[in-house]
Symmetry: C5
Subunit: 384 residues, 5 copies
């Protein structure tokens, strides 16, 4: 039936004589048919990996065609089809037919980014999750949507790209038959992958924890324009992380509470653990966000502090030299000492100049002591 | 009955001898009869477009009179009457009679703006939505109320004006029989239009995302009075967007949860998708609002930074030249060198002037090095 | 029974030999007997207006005594007794006896201000609402408590004062038999008055919208001490508005949800509309509050901007003239040119003075160009 | 049984050979036996007042021993035992035995401060409330815990100290048989006292309202270091008030909702009124807190404003005199007018000096007009 | 069964030929098998203390092997096994086998920090709590996870390290048979320990209360760079405390509400008390956080205040001396008095110099009085 529906999209039946040009939107085009797939330019070609396992055996095959998965889906073993890359509408449509996906499911899987969520579509469970992996240069993270379609004995996962993926250890556990995974059904596999996604947030968070500590030092010791940019960027990235983890937590909670028959009670116990980790991630993100906000306040205060010190330097220099310059100005006046004994007699004194210099030294010294006592000189070592 | 009620408004029965003048309010006049329509000056004349379709056929007619829609309403085909423009009380009242609208429904439809909501009135469902379309010059958006009255086989939509409308692609899908739309009932049409409205938020949000990025550069590199105005304006517009999308989300949720018989279960599945998009819009609006708030903090810090640099320039100039000027002042004093060998003997030295100039150069050079080491000259390239 | 209770207040039965003086509190005296009425000094004398109507007839009488209302209350027609003014304890107590009010009801009605709320007392419904009317000089609003006591066929409303009242149009509708009001019962009258109260918030909000726009211009263009006071005052008044509308919304919601038999289902539909308007008012108040908060940030940034410009002016003047003054100081020194050819030979050059002046002009010109390029002169047109 | 439990605390049965010293904590010692009473040093000795009344009679006795209350508790009359002061563990323990209190109840009553709450313990209701009374010098308030233990025919109240108490008028109402109090049971007494406590917040709030108004004037007109301290102190005290009233509201709500048989339906109606007052208090506290936060912003802006004016004064003085001093410096140069006719010929002009002075006056005048036009002189009247 | 599961982790069954290297994560490795224990380097070796008691006897033994606890677990007496230190995977795994723990329970116990929570695992209740104890130098606190596994007659607690522990008094109560503890079951013991943990927050909070008071003085009197760092650090530590107490409160609430058969009704009453204390702790943390935020605002204002005073000093000095220096400059000009009687005749006056000096004194005095009147000298005593 799904196939029928998709075909119907291609059959046009023009009866109305209206002419309306379509604007070229980046997002889901407003008013576009539900189920329309919008393939982004530059999206990598899909790579399809099938891992099929039961307790006794495990098999890993790279498939060339979506239809090649069909024989595996019928067997009792757990089949994990992992599609990496969203670059071919044709392949994705055919994959939708192989798994008999509702057009809305296929739309959610392909038209990234979607909000993390859990939805039941008849005999299948759609789980949209957001995976973060540390950046290649370790200065941030890459966010990627991973969609799960969970059936009775199969799990279809769709990732945005083949690189970066937190699932390596899970594959290893299947390969080496470590832990319970080979003895459990597809729901346990979905849990294991979700858990890997949630645990993947911790290294990223740790990176941000370190960055906040670095910024805390920088912001007090040497706040610059760059620091400001870094704090703002930090807040922006934490906002993104937050948008990724909040709905994820709700989605996992829904998996636990809603009694879908596709999730066994034993797996639900494991999902509770996964939920706890999601809450922990959320707590940390919120804490970091508060710290980042506080950092901005510290920055502003710190810049004010610095300006205060610049002002103090200017004030010290001005306050010391302006009176001295005034005295020098006095004795630079040209009052005629010949006309009157009252006209600047100091100029003709024997000790006139030394006394004048002495007075200047005393005034300057007094002011230096004044500022010294108030501790104005203390901060200049850190002035920059 | 509706007609009766409306006529009764016109029949006055003056028995009380009171005299109270009415103030000229813009909004719904306090104490005005429920169901009173207030037509704004300058509202465009209504244009009525009827689109009637079933799976086999589709028809598009522009109606001159509201009553011309009556024959279409009786048939089994889906009739979509789209009223564009609120400029004529007469036409709207007659439209109300054609569709047998409750006076409160007509009031909500005409007296814009109302808060987005869903309400059931007997055999009809009233949906008030807020549509945003990008501005003509691409620098903002136009908000417009769209009211839906959904019946068994018909949908009446009322827009504020004929221009700007996100429904073009839906009309195209009806015309070309693309997707499911021609095979479904009026509730699917209502969903398709609601979905087009929600998807219409994305291009607008994208525009704001870009504007925030521009402002982020501007605010750190060159914060000016204009930047401040832009940030405040941005916050104001995001507040408006937020007020538009919040209640819309609640309204769609209500459509899904409340078991109105006018919405089929299949359409409810599509509405869940629409709801997810509304939540995504909300998330983005909230994120942008947080970024805009952070921008204001960055602006303030950035202005402080700039002031700091201006202060540094002043301090450098003052600190270098004030001591030099003082020295020049010293040797400008007129102490009489003839009266005493202690009176400024330097003036008569052979090397007096060169030594004096050298001392000045050394002092200036020392201070320049002092400031250089502290990095005070670094920021002046960006000083503006 | 109510009468009995009130009499019992007056009968003292002193058996304890304790002596405790009472402090003179403004508010409800701590520990005062429930039902004690505290009449504020200067409260206007009550004016009692009775409007009695059925579909056929309508009558308006000003009553001299509360007891004069009794004959009207028995009839089947709707009796609206409107008490305007809280200045006489005697009249209010007697009114309480006429309508058989619970002492707590009478206390809530008289001891203003109370929080808006809805409470059922046996056969009566008490509605406390807060009415705002624009100030006489149009620069703010007057808040006033209106209490409704709704019975089967009567409505008692108590206002704080005779002036300012949003009920004029409702009276007019009764007088002229416009709309449904004359054909409906007392619950519809209560709705109509509540609706008039809620609609009365809009003109007040519109005034604040305009004031915010004015302040937005003022705060960027010419921020002064007055602006600061205005913003703070604005925030204070919006807080008051918010305190008035929040509980009012809850009260209306309670009227809709709680199944009091005094409210008919038809009136409930109208109250839903009234509730929507209350939510809309709340939305606007919250939006304005956010804008006012943002204005305070803009103000601070704007003052910093201005200081920046003042600093720039000072820096320009100082940076240009301090080096020039230093040069002048140099050639004002008195080194003896006769003692050594190295002592300021420039003074005796033929071109000495012109070269010196030229150097000064070049330095000044260079600095002006330096500042010009950085755009420092641009903002002085707006400097104030 | 309660007595038994308390005795068991005293019987030690040392069998473990562990040695761990106890740290001297102020608060409830971590790990201390539940029911341990910690008597603060300097707590006043308890004074026990018993008021026993029925409709016909009322009696007031000061008791020397807790056990003296026993005979009164058996009678049908209402017995109000009011313990004022927590200074004696012995008296409090015996009081616990007289009223058969659960050890946790006694702990909550004695180990102040506890959070306001309502708890049922078998046949008794424990109500913890927080009473505020204005300070003796009227500059703040005193907070005190009042615990109610409500039984069928008795009410035990425990206050922290004998002075300051909002219950005077209630005692007076009992003494003079005013209002309903003598005809009602112990639950009504508890209501009357709770109501007195809530109403006691109003004079305190009024004081803070006045203080905020004073600060609003001070902060704009003359912001000083003292103002800053006052605003911070205000925020701190409002936080304390908030912590007192929030849980109190919840406690009263619980009294109304939870169907304890100790509270009659009639008293519940009165408690609703009390609840409304508590909500009103909370509203006011929140409003004041918002105003105090806004005050801090106003303060910061106001200080910036002042600095702006100081800067303007400096800029005016510098801008006017620096160019003039430069001109004076020019003509103080010693270029030899004999060597060249180009060397400062102005010095030998007949009008040289007057022209120079005139030029200075013109420059100064021009600058004064420049600043005048920009309104820089306007604010100096308020400069401080 | 648990043992079986854990062994299966060790059996590898490599069938897939994939090669993926594992990154070295600090946290729970993404994708690691649920139940994997990650022992931190430097974690102290576990010390196992068993306290076994009934009403008559109490016994305290330090166990060398986890298995040594098995005989005690079978008896009817309450067995409290307290593991202090997480440094040995072997010991912890064996402890898990002794108590038959679910692998997820063991993971939560060992892989610290986990979020405080309560979970039921079949016949056991897992309680994760966070204990804070004051730092050794009294300048902060040490946070530590304490896990409780509550069974019918036993309680297993696991602490992160042997030092610092709030349980001393509880051990003492068991040893000395003080209070109810020896007559109650293991659930009461769990309560007693939880209560000790919650009460342990109070001394820490008291420390922060004092620190806030110190900072309040410092921030107004002498705000420095250090103060800023201290405030930020304070906010950070309060955030940590908040993250510790929030989920703890929820966990205790869950213990009370969820009807686990392992908690008796009597203990639930005690837990209510414990819950109240947790809420009190939360209230205080939130209050302190608000005060710390307010402190940051005060700091910024205070720095602005200080800058204002520095500016005033500079302005006073400049405003007084710049005009005087200008006058001195005037009479330093070299206009030729011989060429014209208009050229600076003052220089040749008999009183010229004294009049000039007098004029300077008058100007300086006038300005000093000007500044004095405006109170500019008042703050310099506090200038630093």
């Amino acid at each position: 039936m799904t196939t029928k529906r998709l075909q119907s999209v291609l059959v046009a039946n023009p009866k109305l004589d209206e002419d309306e040009s379509m604007v070229d939107y980046f997002y889901d085009q407003p008013g576009s048919t539900p189920g329309t797939l919008s393939i982004e330019d530059g999206a990598p070609e899909p790579v399809i990996i099938l891992i099929d396992y039961c307790e006794a055996n495990a098999l890993r095959v790279q498939l060339d065609d979506p239809e090649a998965a069909i024989p595996y889906l019928d067997s009792d073993s757990v089949s994990w089809v992992d599609v990496q890359g969203l670059g071919s509408e044709d392949v994705l449509q055919r994959m939708g037919q192989v798994f008999d996906l509702h057009p809305l499911v296929l739309e959610d899987v392909v038209n990234v980014p979607q909000r993390p969520k859990v939805e039941e579509f008849g005999h299948q469970l759609l789980i949209i999750a957001r995976m973060v992996t540390p950046d290649d240069d370790g200065k941030g993270f890459i966010g990627e949507q991973v969609s799960f379609i969970l059936g009775q004995h199969y799990l279809l996962t769709v990732q945005e790209e083949p690189a970066h993926d937190a699932f390596g250890p899970v594959r290893e556990r299947i390969r080496t038959n470590k832990g319970l995974i080979r003895r459990q059904n597809a729901d346990y596999l979905a849990y294991a992958l979700l858990d890997a996604i949630i645990d993947g947030f911790f290294p990223v968070l740790e990176y941000y924890g370190e960055r906040i500590e670095e910024l805390e030092d920088e912001v007090v010791a040497n706040p610059s324009r760059k620091t400001l940019e870094k704090i703002h960027e930090l807040k922006r990235e934490l906002l993104t992380l937050r948008r990724a983890i909040w709905p994820q937590r709700d989605a996992i909670n829904m998996l636990i509470r809603d009694g879908s028959p596709l999730i066994s009670d034993e797996v639900r116990i494991y999902l509770r653990d996964c939920y706890d980790h999601a809450v922990q991630v959320m707590d940390m993100v919120e804490t970091y966000r508060e710290l980042a906000s506080s950092l901005m306040d510290v920055y502003l205060s710190s810049v004010s502090n610095k300006m205060n010190e610049v002002m103090k330097l200017l004030t010290i220099i001005s306050t010391i030299f302006i009176p001295l310059t005034f005295i020098a100005g006095i004795y630079g006046m040209n009052f005629n000492t010949d006309k009157s004994p009252l006209n600047m007699p100091e100029l003709n004194w024997f000790w006139g100049y030394p006394i004048c210099i002495l007075a200047m030294v005393l005034i300057a010294g007094g002011l230096v002591i004044f500022f010294w006592r108030r501790g104005w000189f203390e901060n200049f070592s850190t002035l920059n």
